[in-house]
């Protein structure tokens, strides 16, 4: 549009005021309009800003060496922190427990464990981190169990009334009393030890210095009336390992499995569920000959074993159940190797991550599920002897060979996300094989979240595919008829009807699809399929009959009303097909087609399936495609068609060779926009499918789409978690996809419009 400007010359007084008002109005409108546009574009940037952190690399501060007191840094066997990562704890081989400030290493408290006269600690074992229990194996065949405790108290800050000051008082506690517990009745020193402790049961596995492998459990029962705790001891000797010296014992947190590392590269798995009759299950070669296992640990949750070797290789193993319900310890995945020989591996408290250190002083922070090396760093302090991760995974503690303790804060909130974990088959703990799976939450805290977007993306595309299968033929063909053949009077009825169709809320379509159509198709499957099959033929047959009818009958009803004539035909065909459905099912499918399909042909059949969604979502998409395609066909310049007709082409030839050829970009863009709508539709898929994230193409099964997944899970996702951000990621993907598809379609249409104006 050409600019029209007011050309009043500047005059004072009244007119000046008007001019000022005019300028004010202009600025106001410009400001308002621009802000609205900016506000809209904010959507994209906001979504992106929420998603971005999950793709950021893990950040770690520089390592901070702590000047610890001598006793605190003598022969350290254990390092740890409390929840807030403010106070660190170190335990020495001799039984000195020292607490220190994580920031500057200032000693806070030091305590020697309660040892009986003349007895020395000879071995050490840490239980599962979440239980905070450790054990010392003693020289007289007994063990001492202790627990770190951190008493947190709050006091009002005198300087700032809005804030409370938190004080943490560390100490140790003996959950089963200060008297050591008997492990070896023969009184030999416990060379190696592994313990797990919960309120009801404590289990220890120990190797004595004369080579016997013992399993002891203490069951604690508290008297309901007196509250007194009584413990019952049970102890057996385990069958010996087949070869080599025992190097490490690992009990899982559920106190069901014991892994014994022996020789250079073997692990033997004992089933110790039944404490009185443990069973040797199998011995597995962890690495090929020539390589030596140098460190191993159990990940949180007690399923997975992480094994490190002298070549720096790291691998994850866990038990996999086969068809006969037997468990086999199986190699699951290998991680990016480290430079030197692995010296220590520390698991995270609640997630499936671990920290490995090697003899060159390098460390690597890994995450098992996503197979990621999150971070590697060279400390330059010689072999790493002890490593630990804080409970919240936001700090690490290391000890180098020279006895220096180092700490660093780590920002590692989204280790679960990697290309591998989002898009490829992942072998999750306790699964029989790698698979695509989306399962974002569960009741237990040691749950391994499964964040595969593959089944959701697949479901989205499957939904769109079946919807388009229904919508494209109906909408495009219908648009051609409406634009080219239909009588104007009928258009007056059809166009508003299509607009009503577009306006029908999807929640109503979903509701009808889920509660009416799905059970109806379930009960009349053969009839429905027959109706779908018969309809196209009925159109052609009707056309032929109409053509053969005497002219005097057809004359009155002019061309352009074919669609109206076909309505009773459609109703008739549908009625007949549905009537025939049950006899057909009786004759061919034993009277119940869905049942027959799943039992005889092995096609799984769900009541709320892709067929239902295809019809319902096709319904929702038809008007979108119809309106745009109709517009494209209708606005083909009249002189083109007139020219073609004048040259003797039939109506159909003109349509096919002239009109459709010209309008095809418009029809293409209509289909694209319809596709965009089908991809993002939420309520219909939510209501008309079972929403299970399965991946198969069958028309008789359901799926779960990205949009439905967001709708279901968004409300319960905790703000800022990986789950929350992945749902935002889903939304961003939907946004970007539909926006690009629509923009492309719009550009195609605009070019087409320009073309029309030239010819």
């Amino acid at each position: 549009m050409e600019k029209i400007e007011s050309n009043i010359s500047k005059v004072g007084g009244y007119t000046g005021k008007r001019m000022a008002k005019d300028r004010l109005f202009k600025h106001f409108m410009t400001f308002g309009g621009l802000s609205v546009i900016i506000a809209i574009s904010l959507i994209f940037f906001y979504l992106a800003s929420v998603v971005a952190p999950i793709f950021m690399p893990v950040k770690m501060e520089d390592l901070n060496s702590l000047p610890l007191t001598k006793s605190a840094r003598q022969d350290t066997v254990y390092l740890g922190t409390e929840e807030q990562a403010e106070i660190g704890v170190s335990m020495s081989k001799r039984g000195v427990v020292a607490f220190f400030d994580m920031r500057d290493g200032k000693p806070i408290a030091e305590e020697k464990i309660a040892l009986p006269e003349g007895v020395e600690p000879v071995s050490f074992a840490a239980g599962d981190l979440s239980q905070k229990t450790v054990g010392y194996g003693l020289s007289d065949g007994r063990m001492l169990l202790l627990e770190q405790k951190f008493d947190v108290s709050f006091a009002r800050d005198p300087n700032n009334p809005d804030k409370d000051i938190r004080t943490i008082k560390p100490g140790i506690n003996y959950p089963l009393g200060t008297a050591p517990l008997l492990v070896d009745p023969e009184g030999h020193a416990l060379k190696r030890l592994s313990i797990q402790h919960t309120d009801d049961e404590t289990t220890a596995a120990a190797l004595t210095d004369d080579g016997r492998l013992l399993l002891v459990s203490y069951a604690s029962t508290s008297n309901m009336l007196t509250g007194e705790v009584s413990t019952k001891r049970e102890g057996v000797e385990l069958p010996p390992v087949p070869n080599g010296d025992i190097r490490q014992l690992l009990l899982d947190v559920k106190q069901r499995d014991l892994y014994v590392l022996h020789g250079e590269r073997f692990v033997t798995h004992y089933d110790v569920m039944n404490k009185s009759s443990p069973r040797l299950v199998q011995t597995v070669e962890l690495v090929p000959g020539g390589e030596t296992v140098t460190a191993a640990t159990i990940l949180s949750g007690g399923f997975s074993l992480i094994v490190g070797t002298n070549n720096g290789n790291l691998a994850q193993w866990f038990q996999v159940r086969d068809e006969n319900n037997n468990n086999h310890l199986t190699h699951i995945r290998s991680f990016k190797p480290m430079q030197g020989s692995i010296t220590t591996i520390a698991p995270e408290y609640f997630r499936k991550g671990f920290l490995a250190g090697d003899n060159k002083g390098d460390i690597g922070l890994y995450y098992a599920t996503s197979k990621r090396l999150l971070l590697d760093r060279a400390t330059g302090k010689g072999p790493i002897t002890v490593a630990a991760i804080s409970p919240r995974g936001n700090a690490i503690l290391l000890e180098g060979n020279d006895g220096s303790v180092m700490t660093a804060k780590v920002e590692n909130d989204y280790p679960e996300v990697s290309f591998y974990s989002l898009w490829q088959k992942v072998w999750y703990e306790s699964y029989q094989e790698p698979e695509y799976n989306w399962q974002s939450s569960a009741a237990t805290s040691d749950f391994e979240p499964k964040f595969s977007l593959a089944p959701l993306t697949f479901g989205t595309l499957k939904a769109a595919f079946y919807a388009m299968l229904v919508a494209i033929p109906l909408a495009v063909l219908g648009a051609i008829f409406a634009a080219y053949f239909m009588s104007p009077k009928m258009r007056g009825v059809v166009k508003p009807s299509i607009e009503i169709m577009e306006a029908l809320p999807t929640v109503i379509l979903g509701f009808l699809a889920g509660l009416w159509l799905a059970p109806y198709i379930d009960n009349n499957l053969a009839g429905t399929l027959l109706a779908i099959f018969l309809l196209p033929f009925s159109f052609v047959i009707t056309a032929y009959v109409w053509h053969k009818l005497p002219v005097r009958l057809t004359q009155g009803v002019g061309a352009g009303w074919e669609a109206a004539l076909l309505i009773p035909v459609i109703l008739l065909v549908m009625g007949v097909a549905l009537q025939l459905g049950h006899p057909i099912e009786a004759a061919l499918f034993d009277g119940d087609m869905p049942h027959y399909l799943s039992n005889k042909w092995g096609w799984s059949y769900e009541q709320r399936n892709s067929l239902v969604v295809g019809v319902a979502m096709g319904f929702a998409v038809i008007p979108t495609i119809f309106s745009i395609a109709e517009d494209a066909v209708f606005s083909v310049p009249k002189h083109l068609t007139s020219g073609s007709l004048a040259l003797g082409a039939t109506n159909w030839q003109t349509l096919w060779n002239v009109v459709l050829l010209t309008a095809s970009p418009g029809i293409f863009s209509a289909v694209m926009i319809g596709m965009g709508r089908a991809v993002g539709e939420t309520m219909i898929v939510l209501m008309a499918t079972g929403n299970t994230a399965v991946m198969d193409l069958s028309i008789f099964t359901g799926f779960r789409t990205l949009s439905a997944n967001v709708g279901v899970e968004m409300g319960e996702a905790a703000v800022g978690t990986t789950h929350y951000r992945l749902l935002f990621f889903s939304a961003l993907v939907l946004f970007a996809f539909t926006f690009m598809v629509n923009t492309l379609a719009e550009l195609v249409r605009q070019r087409l419009r320009e073309k029309y104006s030239h010819i």
Binding site: R18, L47, L477, A543, I570, T682
Partner: protein, 551 residues
């Protein structure tokens, strides 16, 4: 034949078939919703029959028959029914047996071959109870304080009389509970927040505390008084009861306090049925829901929808018009504005759930969370604006419908003939005056059309609302008699979400189904009417513009 195929006739008919099929689908959906939704309120006859089970034991059935379908015998046999026939198909009837507190089953399918003839006894009473759904039985007696006051033929008129009394008492109790006690609670909560605020600001002196306590005392006294009154009314309403014989022959006492409505459907005349229909329809649109939304009315959902749409309109209209005026009248027309125009256009095609996610993250958690910290610290950790609510819902939908309004307004502006602008400018008006006095008024029907379409879209949208403020059961309306009257932070109910929730999340889907159809019908009517209105308006506008161009 060959010539005929060559002529393209069959293909033309196929395209016609596509249109016809689309039309059939649209009207089938509308008809299905209407047919199911409209019949919900019509009193249905209560059937009595005898079901003979596999073991030959006969059970009397008494209930409504809402559905019947042809079913394969294979399925029935798999379900454990022993039916001796060669047929592959038979019929089965869905019985609504009611009395689910007594017998445990409400809805059950029965195969036709195992049922006796249907009879329709005149004295069957169908009671709509306030809890536990419907009750069906033969009316026997009406009692007062356990003593029989009417029996046999006199029972029914006596029951009607006493029901009037019990319903009046019930309404009184409801009023006290909802309105009067609600008001007191609101006032008490405000006092608590006031106290907490003072405490946070370190200004909670003993004087202030005493002052608050002084305000609190009369409220608490009043509260006790009201509770006493309710106790008394509860006692009064518990006076009468009726006893009826249910299908297994037991005589059951039903206190009138639990009876919302009772009819003898088999004995009703057509006029009585019409009266009942109208009354039920009225109750449906004006009552609160009962029994986890599966019974009663949907008034809060209607109210919430209207309220949300109104708030949204207030926000979207000025913003949309401003953006359109800027883009069409003030911005430099070039590739940049063309790109913006395409983007705005395309936003209409962005999935609505994306707006919901944005609304939840940005409005609720970010804006709302900050507002709470700044203005409502006394209520923390309970969120005020930091949790989904009607304000955020309408803001989200305003964003969602913004493109609709912008596009419609732009179209309207572009249709205003050049001659009119030129005329106005030539007469010495400034651009602002031209816009304000001539162009915008002429384009106003277009804006109206945009707004109506936006409203229609917003009324039917559910996916984003699930995230930003809709709940299945809101304890109070966003508008009430307590200052400041409009409570923007409250959660609300919505017709579309009601359909989703009751149809798919409710424990008794079968019982709720007719109600969901009725709700769906209401929603369809609202949206179709709005759309037809918008279409009419747009057509009228185009006509008018065409007329103006000739000027």
């Amino acid at each position: 034949m060959k010539n005929w195929i060559k002529s393209g006739e069959p293909w033309i008919w196929t395209t016609a078939g596509a249109v016809a099929l689309s039309l059939v689908m649209v009207y089938a959906v509308v008809w299905l919703t209407a047919a199911q939704g409209l019949t919900h309120f019509w009193p249905k006859p209560v059937v009595e029959t005898v079901f003979t089970g596999n073991d030959g034991q006969a059970v009397r059935l008494l209930g409504e028959v809402p559905d019947k379908e042809e079913v394969s015998l294979l399925r029935l046999r798999e379900a454990g029914y022993k039916i001796d026939t060669q047929d592959k198909f038979t019929y089965r009837y869905l019985f609504k047996l009611g009395n689910r507190d007594i017998t445990g089953t409400d809805f059950k399918w029965f195969p036709a071959p195992m049922l006796d003839k249907f009879t329709y006894p005149q004295d069957v009473l169908a009671i709509e109870r306030r809890e536990w759904g419907n009750f069906y039985g033969h009316l026997k007696q009406v009692k007062e304080d356990g003593k029989v006051v009417a029996e046999g033929a006199q029972a029914w008129p006596e029951l009607l009389k006493r029901m009037e009394r019990s319903n009046a008492l019930f309404r009184e109790i409801l009023y006290i509970e909802k309105v009067e006690i609600g008001k007191l609670n609101y006032a008490l909560e405000k006092l608590r927040l006031q106290e907490r605020k003072l405490e946070l600001q370190n200004r909670l002196t003993d004087a202030a505390r005493a002052d608050i306590q002084k305000q609190r005392e009369p409220l608490e006294a009043n509260f006790l008084k009201l509770q006493e009154k309710i106790e008394r009314l509860r006692h009064d309403i518990g006076r009468d009861s009726l006893s009826a014989e249910i299908m297994d022959g037991r005589i059951i006492d039903v206190p009138l306090a639990k009876v919302a409505d009772a009819i003898m459907p088999n004995a009703m005349s057509v006029w009585e049925k019409i009266g009942h229909y109208v009354r039920k329809f009225w109750e449906f649109t004006t009552d609160d829901p009962r029994e986890a939304n599966t019974e009663g009315g949907i008034f809060p959902a209607i109210f919430g929808t209207v309220m949300m749409v109104l708030l949204m309109s207030v926000m979207v209209t000025p913003l949309g018009i401003m953006a359109a005026v800027y883009m069409r009248e003030y911005a430099k027309q070039g590739p940049m504005i063309r790109m913006i125009r395409i983007s705005v256009n395309n936003l209409a095609g962005v999935p609505s759930i994306v707006y919901g996610v944005f609304g939840l993250g940005f409005f609720v958690y970010f804006l709302g969370g900050n507002i709470d910290h700044l203005f409502f610290p006394e209520a923390l950790p309970a969120p005020t604006f930091g949790s989904p609510g009607i304000l955020w819902a309408s803001l989200t939908l305003a964003l969602l419908t913004l493109p609709v309004v912008i596009v419609a307004t732009e179209e309207g502006l572009s249709r205003v003939p050049r001659t009119i602008r030129e005329g106005s400018l030539a007469l010495g008006a400034t651009k602002a005056e031209t816009l304000w006095r001539t162009v915008l008024p002429i384009a106003s029907p277009a804006m109206m059309t945009g707004l109506i379409l936006a409203v229609a879209r917003a009324a039917g949208e559910v996916a984003p609302l699930m995230l930003v403020g809709v709940v299945k059961l809101a304890p109070s309306l966003p508008l009430d008699g307590n200052f400041p009257f409009l409570h923007l932070e409250r959660k609300f109910m919505h017709l579309g979400f009601h359909i989703y929730d009751v149809g798919f999340q409710s424990p008794n889907v079968e019982a709720a189904r007719p109600l969901v159809y009725a709700t769906a019908l209401l929603l369809v009517i609202i949206i179709v009417v709005l759309n037809l209105f918008a279409i009419r308006l747009r057509n009228r506008l185009r006509e008018r513009m065409r007329g103006l161009e000739g000027v």
